[in-house]
Amino acid sequence: MHPIRKKRLTIVLFLLAGIGVAVGLTTYALRQNINLFYDPSQIAAGEAPHDVRIRAGGMVEKGSVVRDPESLKVRFRVTDFQSSVPVEYTGILPDLFAEGQGVVAMGKLDAGGSFVADQVLAKHDENYMPPEVAESLKKTADGQPVANGAAQSASY
């Protein structure tokens, strides 16, 4: 083969190999690390998979936060004013975590239907509502006028 063509071929092969490796790594890593968002109603309806890392979000139900007296374990319920899901978490909660506030938790659903979180996010601003939570609240509110009333009464 002509030396210049050979060189071009090498470069092209290099590029293709690089792109191939990148694409392979990406799809592999993507498949492992996509975390889908579910709201409490979907989880209660059994739409969310068990033992797969997902995100769940909603409002922290008033009066539901229970601390373990011995460790950093904490239990609370996350609600969209339709259904609620029990959440278990061990660790430090963010400063803006409070009852009646919106949160997003990352973790897995266990066999008993409670959500074991390894991360709880309440973002940097007290006026902030995680967009997923805002939308799912809106959805439940739009769909069922009853829920709308519930949302209002809950946000007294």
């Binding site: 210049i4 470069i11 990148a22 990406t26 007296p69 950093l72 975590f97 902030y128 995680p130």
Partner: protein
Amino acid sequence: MFPELGQIALILALLLAVLLSVVPLVGSLTGREQLQAFARPLASGMFVFIAMAFGLLVHAFLTDDFSVAYVANNSNSLLPWFYKFSAVWGGHEGSLLLWILLLSGWTMAVAIFSRRLPAVMISQVLSVMGMISVGFLLFIILTSNPFDRLLPNIPADGADLNPLLQDIGLIMHPPMLYMGYVGFSVAFAFAIAALINGRLDAAWARWSRPWTTVAWAFLSVGIALGSWWAYYELGWGGWWFWDPVENASLLPWLAGTALMHSLAVTEKRGVFKSWTVLLAIIAFSLSLLGTFMVRSGVLTSVHAFASDPERGTFLLMLLAVTVIASLTLYAFRAPVVHVRSRYGSLGREIFLLLNNVLLVSATLLVGIGTLYPLVLDYLDMGKLSIGEPFFNTTFTPLAIATGLLLGAGIFSRWKKTDGGWLGRKLLWPLAISVVVTTAVVIGYGGFKPWAFAGVFTAVWVAVATLWDLNDKSRSRKGRLHGLKRQSRSYWGMVLGHLGLAMTIAGVTVVSNYGIERDVRMSPGDVATVGDYQFAFRAMGQRQGQNYTSQYGTFDVMKGGERIAVLHPEKRQYSVGMRVMTEADIDAGLSRDIFVAIGEHISDGAWAIRLQYKPLIRWLWLGAVVMAIGGFFAISDRRYRIRENSEETAGETRGARLPVKGSAEAVS
């Protein structure tokens, strides 16, 4: 009245920007020199008016003018003056004004420092910068005016600056980051100008290089500052979260790093021209994309002030116009590649090409991971997020490969390197690196494959760089003479690569050997983390200027000896009643000891986070060293004014002096 003046100044700046983007360009295309001569005065005028607007906004903040809506929303009379000052860019409108101020500053700098350039080139470059200014000035004036008034209901006091932002990190992080973002506009403008007049040559690459390097250096420091700030101010000791906002700044950095290296090849060897131009366009487009993502409200984070859809749309349009226009121009004007490739299989060109392939792959990966969820969400195809493991598993191998290639590439020669020679050359550095890495990994307490790979990469880069320095500085007149003989740009490269090695070392060691423990503690309790004991002595209270604080007292002990007393705090700000965690850190070159207080659990017990972070400072210091390298590189003699033009400059100065003297005598 001052705020109205500010608004008028912005409008005048917009008019000048419109003129700047049209007049010199027309002049350069029609060959009329008197039109081209407008470029510099217009650039200066635009800068003056924008600086005036910025100054007036600063004035409004320092004098607590709460009739200005932006001031009322982002400041408070209780703030110390320096936070009032930094609050200028603590919100959406002001940070855009800072953006445009820096853009006009860069434009002005180009006008000043490019006297050696042909008039046609400089007028086109300044025109392109003018076009970018038009876009952003329009954006500010139409959608985000910082001078809007709250009349007649002037609030008695401001709503306060978000306590997270009341910090030295915020004073410095945005200006540095923006200097980088905006700085890539210069490389972009040079690329567009080169495409317009078809002059893609070594001279063009040489002109672009220092500007790209400076922008890159600022961006490196800006990113490092952001990471450092997140580490101590967000409270929990994480320094990189692969958050879309962080990625938005990493994308232009990766592309900019690729651009810097590909510009080197274009300047030295005259190849990769089209690729270099494309990279310049990509780097700036990614800067715009970053601005769009952070400022449009598509992402929600501490950075996203605006959720006004109008703003997002405007920025997206701006981004689309820039990308489409420049790529169209590229498609029509990019040189048809005649591969007169005179570089052999292991020439430095090949190593730099691979460097570019890896860096661009990394850019793509980070870009996909960042944008994929946003696009799916926009298309209503479900809400998902891509977790940190995605980035870690894909980015790490690329970073390691880049480092390994770098070590070999340093020894390579332009055109052609003999494989056998290179192999023998690498033998000693390889042996040293293996030994050092093994020692380090054992010293930190155990073999982990990724830790070994990361530390090896860092050591390998450092050893190869120093080995090459040793080779090059060999001189019959002694080592010192040999070192002095090296050019500033060579020193720049050495520092840049050593900085990279430091960052890789820091990242690897802290990720693999750092220890983090969340514990429940009451005063009197002792907890152990690694070799360190933390004794929780007491909780106390104190009053700050605009907050009250509960603080803990921790004795940190190692081997029975007290090495530090730390006071982490829980602050409650009096305006807005926000609660903030202030960690306390015993910082050191070899390790940080970190204590943060979580929430109060019950009867005197608190959730406490204790951390041991080995080598964490290195990852930021590395970025600083890289930036210093960048500044070294641009101070190289070949970028300075040619001697003869220096003489003429001297003559005019000499000629002017007596005139000035006589003017003084007259007055």
